[in-house]
């Protein structure tokens, strides 16, 4: 057997086990909207932890982070900081979002906007911002997946064939088992990924240098400036670092799939306790940095930094190890991809089509339409991913900057009774507009500041000012959660189910 066949057999073996696990997770359960999107709100501490870890650590933390350690150097440290600080924000807003969801049977992020602000158009706008950025985020996962399959098969299996197979599997288990599949496939994904990261992160420095300490002794004399900020990217200094961390930590839980995942928790306490232990997961990130740093000396001159980890593994170990790392990487793309298509499909059906075009639709029909959309969105993303090259970094950056703009609407909605629908609407439009303008006119960073951060500041000002100038939608009950809307929502719910 050629090395390529051994590696590919292991990768597709991993994908197959993932598929079986995912489909099995939903067998013998009636998959209505409530089960499919939020697993009946029954996830306890451990399964919820696996779901969270499954969604946080994507191909980006695996290939992207090692790639940035390789090509950026010091600025890559922002990843540890912003993911840790995002959990601090989660600790405070997560339980509140969950409580609103539990009380009013919410399924999506746009449902929350609908409930809090009572505006169908605002909710539809939020749903659209969500769907567009999710599709872009999906591109990142698909690109990573394609890279893994291409490199692990020694360029025998084409990128497009690999992506297509993996994607049929993802659509398959999302359709049959919904969010339960995501949680259970995460068990497999997290186990493989942790073994791969710890193994590779320790083994590569040992193999080439005799240890991590020795690796830095070899690296510091030649690349000392690379290891602190701004590293090899002159614009990424300390101002960039602070503003990027603030923008990303705020934006982190604004990805629409988080809302569905938060609603799936059994209690608010489950979320708080998870937020306490989740930062510890970041202790694996330095090992990923080490692989990227080691590759500077062992594999210099790579054009695409994201290939650093896989090429180093391919040059160092047997095809079986490459296959194992590839399988871990493939599942690391597939789990987030699954939750992304699930969220995008639900948002489109529940918060865009039903309220605007078919108000009489039942929840069951919404679930059916959402499943159709899962197939459509997967197919679209697949086409784009196969057509386009790997130069998606700019668009992805924009996706993160775009989704962060929902932060003021969500958080002011939770903490400030005066926040109004028009305020949130204006804030989102100004924020997304600023982010698009700065990124596409190549003004990111803007005077050293992350473009998403600049947009977020303007957004916050806009939301606050417009809210103060307008009257809340339900002046008679000027409260955080308007009961008038709430009754309507629960009636719809009873009617639907």
């Amino acid at each position: 057997m050629t090395p390529a066949i051994i590696a590919m057999m292991i990768i597709f073996g991993g994908i197959l086990i993932g598929a079986v696990t995912g489909i099995y997770a939903g067998l013998h359960r009636e998959m209505n909207l409530e089960q499919w999107t939020v697993a009946g709100r029954r996830f306890g501490l451990i399964i919820f932890w696996l779901l969270m870890a499954g969604e946080v650590y994507t191909t980006f933390s695996f290939l992207g982070v090692s790639g940035r350690a390789y090509s950026w150097g010091g600025p890559v440290l922002y990843v540890i900081s912003y993911i840790s600080l995002a959990y601090v924000i989660l600790f405070f807003i997560g339980p509140k979002i969950w409580e609103a969801g539990k009380k009013h049977c919410l399924h999506t992020q746009a449902d929350y906007f609908q409930l809090r602000y009572g505006s169908t158009y605002l909710a539809a706008l939020v749903a659209m911002v969500g769907v567009v950025t999710l599709i872009l985020y999906l591109q990142l996962q698909l690109t990573g997946l394609g890279l893994i399959i291409q490199l692990a098969s020694f360029d025998v299996v084409s990128r497009s064939l690999g992506i297509t197979i993996a994607f049929l599997v993802v659509a398959g288990f999302v359709l049959t088992s919904g969010i339960r599949a995501v949680a259970w496939v995460s068990v497999l994904k997290d186990t493989l990924m942790l073994i791969a990261v710890i193994g590779v992160g320790i083994a590569i420095p040992y193999h080439y240098f005799g240890g991590i300490q020795a690796m830095f002794q070899a690296l510091i004399p030649v690349k000392a400036h690379h290891l602190t900020m701004p590293g090899s990217i002159p614009t990424n200094g300390h101002t960039w670092f602070v503003s990027t961390i603030l923008a990303n930590a705020c934006g982190f839980y604004m990805w629409p799939f988080w809302f569905g995942s938060l609603y799936s928790a059994k209690s608010a306490d489950t979320i708080r306790r998870n937020a306490i232990i989740m930062p510890l997961y970041n202790l694996m990130l330095p090992l990923v940095f080490f692989v990227g740093y080691a590759a500077i000396l062992t594999t210099p001159g790579l054009k695409i930094g994201d290939q650093a980890l896989l090429i180093t593994v391919r040059n160092t170990f047997s095809p079986a190890v490459l296959g194992f790392v590839g399988a871990a990487g493939a599942l690391t793309a597939m789990v987030p991809a699954a939750v992304i298509v699930l969220a995008a499909g639900t948002l489109f059906a529940k918060n865009f089509v039903r309220p605007l075009f078919a108000p009489s639709m039942s929840d069951d029909s919404v679930a059916t339409l959402a499943k159709v959309m899962v197939v459509v969105i997967s197919a679209l993303a697949l086409l784009v991913a196969i057509q386009s090259s790997n130069s998606l970094v700019g668009i992805l950056l924009f996706a993160y900057n775009g989704i962060s703009q929902l932060f003021p609407g969500v958080v002011l909605g939770l903490y400030w009774k005066r926040a109004t629908a028009l305020g949130a609407l204006g804030g989102i439009l100004v924020g997304v507009g600023t982010a698009i303008f700065l990124v596409f006119s190549k003004h990111d960073p803007f005077f050293g500041l992350n473009a998403g951060f600049v947009a977020l500041c303007l957004n916050l000002v806009m939301t606050t000012v417009v809210s103060l100038l307008t009257v809340p939608a339900h002046p008679s009950e000027d409260r955080a959660m308007s009961t008038a809307f709430v009754t309507a929502a629960s009636q719809t719910q009873r009617h639907g189910s």
Binding site: L77, I80, S84, L85, V88, F91, Q213, L227, F241, P279
Partner: protein, 78 residues
């Protein structure tokens, strides 16, 4: 503001100081810690500190939530 609530916010701000705003103070190569550049070692140390801070906030919140009802897990009934 409630004293305990104030302390929870102070405690939650600590990781932001350690991992974000103080970056000019710790973003350097030396002294190496177990052979690892100082900036990486600093952030590795702050990961468990972040967890500890959140645990502290959690304890403070528990003390507020359950005075004498014994409902330690009772946030649902609230």
């Amino acid at each position: 503001m409630d004293r305990r609530k104030l302390w929870s916010y102070v405690l939650a701000a600590v990781p932001f100081l350690g991992m974000c705003f103080t970056v000019p103070l710790w973003d350097r190569l030396y002294p190496l810690v177990f052979g690892i550049p100082f900036n990486i070692a600093w952030l590795i140390a702050w990961v468990p500190i972040t967890s500890l801070c959140l645990w502290g906030v959690y304890r403070l919140g528990k003390a507020v939530d359950s005075p004498d009802t014994g409902a330690t897990e009772g946030e649902i009934s609230k």
